[in-house]
Amino acid sequence: MSDSTKTLIWRRNLIAISIVILMSIIGLRFFQFQIINHDQYAAYAENNSIREIRLPAPRGVILDRNGDYLVTNRAQYSLAVIPAEVNNTLEALEGLGRYLDLGPEEINQIVTDASGFYKRYQPVILYDDISFIQRSYIEEHRLEFPGIFFVDRSIRHYPSRARATHIIGYLRPIAEEEYESFRKDGYRMGDVVGAAGIEKALEQRLRGIDGYKYHLVDNLLRDLGSVPHKPTLYPVPGDSIILSIDIDLQATGEQLMEGRRGALILMDPDDGTIFTYVSAPDYVLAPFIGPISPSLWEYWREHPDKVLLNRPADGLYPPGSTFKLIAAAAALAGGVIDPDATILCEGVYPFGDRNFHCNVWPGHGDVDLTAALRVSCNIYFYKLIQQIGFKAWVEMAKKFGFGEATGFDIGQESTGLVPTPDYMDRKYADEGWTAGHLLNLVLGQGDLLVTPLQITRMTAAIANGGRLVHPTLIINANQRSTSSGSIDLPDHVWEHLQNSMYQVVNGHRGTGFRANIPGAQVFGKTGTAENPHGDGHSWFTGYMVTPTGKRVVITVLVELGGLGSRVAAPLAGQVLQAFLERYDATGDQELAEIQ
């Protein structure tokens, strides 16, 4: 008995100890979860049951210099359904489809596809961009269609009569492959971002700060309303951006360039602000506000006219005779010639084994520097460049900012190309290059490439007496300096150049006479850049001084347009005329009020 009792006691104790140990293990496990790691699990539980709903910030609006809207936002409504709550009867679906041009089978298909157990309480879009009439009908019959609601999102709206396509730029959704780089800035998959123009350049100011609201959801993500202890954070809209563009002048410019290819720029030579910035041809921005259909995208990208190219800043062209101004500046600054000395132009200039021709037959007769610019005499400049020398000419071109970016504030910009002796040595290493090449370069042909914006800046520097401005589309763009420095030349050089440009428009047989307008002084230079593909590129660059002393620079380029004097010059005249009407009397006051 005593022996069996003893063994019984140790068995009982062993079992009792085992019970206590096992229960303690469970107790410690719960202690670990409920006391030690409580905060972590409380956060998990909250994360489970609280859905963060983003309230996208309205994108900033874009205005012109007079406060008129170029870009605003409008609400786009889509019809969404909660699959689990839809009344799936035939009559209900027919009633719903009646105003949506959707058949009951189609609706049923969409709803059925979205009715999986774990997603049946998550809304699915039934119809995108619903019209006001469709919406009113459904609102009126709301009780017949349970599970239906409208979601709105803010999309871009372009109310102005100027398209300003390349200025504003299009938007597009973030692509999957670039998502990683956007994510650190708080973007989400499917967000729309500026992909060109101002929309891209000022994306960070335009996008605003998204808001958030918090809703309670269950395991099927069924929405159970707001959470009392998590107040809504309202979105902060993006900045409003004021552009230097004038909608009326922009529209005029676009109208004039309709059916042509090229660029038209109207700029204030003193602060670099641009009134008109046309890249032709352009396209309508409206279809680009959300997801862009691949076919539309392909269409524009493959378009033979290179519609997406931002010609004023990114297009590269030979400058033609407008570049004679550079040679003239180099000659005057270097003092290598007497500007009043004349040269006989007989229409042809034999050089080496080749004859170089002037633009009229049988030549211009005796021309001095001013006259040579006025009639755009080639022979004068063939001889002039040999006196200036390649190096001095290159230096002068660089002083005027050619071969480098202008510091323009939107989009991609080309630097252009000013051939240097080094460059020529490299390029023509095999056959060698001769002074013959130089004769081409001085006329703005050959390897020389510029952008219309660089030409505009050159003209602005002549107009303002040597300041190289930063072209800009934005008023008070980050308070940055308006110029990148000045071209240090004696005053008489500027006077001579200005006077010559005046003669081009106003003088006898001046090539720019078609840009002349009554009531203001117009200065300019034409150019016709030869082109192996057909007619030359038609150039006009110049400026106007209004009676009140306001100055404005104009550059017009028409690709394959033919003679600068016949095509580009009259277009420039019409734009200047429009500017004069708008800003000379009343316009000045308006401008003063804004600035």
């Binding site: 009982r12 229960m23 293990i25 469970i26 496990r29 719960f30 979860f33």
Partner: protein
Amino acid sequence: MLKFSKGYSTLIVWDGIMLVPVGLLLCIGFMGLYSTGLAGPIWSSSFFRQLIWLTIALGVIWTLRFINPKLYTDHAYRLYGALVLLLALTYLMPAVAGGRRWLLFAGIQFQPSEFGKIIVVLALAKYLAENQKKIDKFHFALVPLAIASGPAILIMGQPDLGTAIIFIATALAMMFWAGVAPLHLFIIIAPIISLITGFSFYTFSVWMLVVVLVVYFTNLSLKWGVINFTVNALFGTLAPTLWNKMQPYQQRRILTMLDAGADPHGAGYQVLQSRTAIGSGGVFGKGIGEGTQTHLRFLPVTDTDFIIAVIGEELGFIAILAALILFTWLLLRLVDRAATTQNQYASLIIIGFATVFLVHIFVNMGMASGLMPVTGLPLPFMSYGGSFLLTCMLMIGLSHYVLAGEL
């Protein structure tokens, strides 16, 4: 045959020390069930239905007090035979939720495996009590294991791994209590451990070293030593093969135990949500009806398998601690009664019942907190389920009756 005896019922002594924790545990369980039933009408809630089942259970216990407990032991083998038959019958029943566990009898569904827990304990007690003298022979120790294995194998095929494990665990505990030599138990359990350690070469090597040491330091004959070693080595090396033969759901559940995050929408998802419910409850809980995990349905099967997670979320660690103390109190009281009675049958039966309770509690709460695989074992006195509540209450009632009778 059954004999009703008024005289016997007067011998029953109701044990307050055992009944108080049972009552309190039922109260905690009903609080949890009340919460899970808040969303719907009260008469269709598991709270209300559990109340009805409790009433039925109390009625059954009240009725059974007129039966001389000697009859249970007299007829234990016949009951056992009937159980095996009923378990076999479940294979003819249509599958419910992927398993064949229920029998439909006169319009009422019931799980024979639940009452089987009581019957197997009775049969084991009978065998162990009547063969006390031969118990130190190894081959006699194998018989109780066979008694438990029969129904266990049938239940494993239902499939219900958890319940099957209960039979084996209970048999081992009762054998230990009856006096089977610890060495014999070691020899019986060793192949199972070999099976588990077989998956890792290092743990298996350590384990085989333990086996060799035990064989060396005990006075096991050379023949038996070699046999024991060979069997364990065989089990360990066969383990990976066996694993591949397992049902995918069984493999998944075992893997889920090892890493709950690996399978967020299967069993791992359940455990993760259960842990989140428990952890987010903190010390005092979120309050009845305030648990987001429970009421927004992130937590699965709240009223049965995961009732303790509901209680953990809404009533907090305080309630969990209370439940654990009450369970421990009840189990220790059962062991104490088993140790103090002179009645060999009653002693073994109560130890058997205590083991059934212990395995349920440890496996269920371990499962809810991610310590054990999701086996679907309910929590005594708390999980909703008629057959199970009836079984638990019967075990408490029978513990009193067998102590009063002369078996």
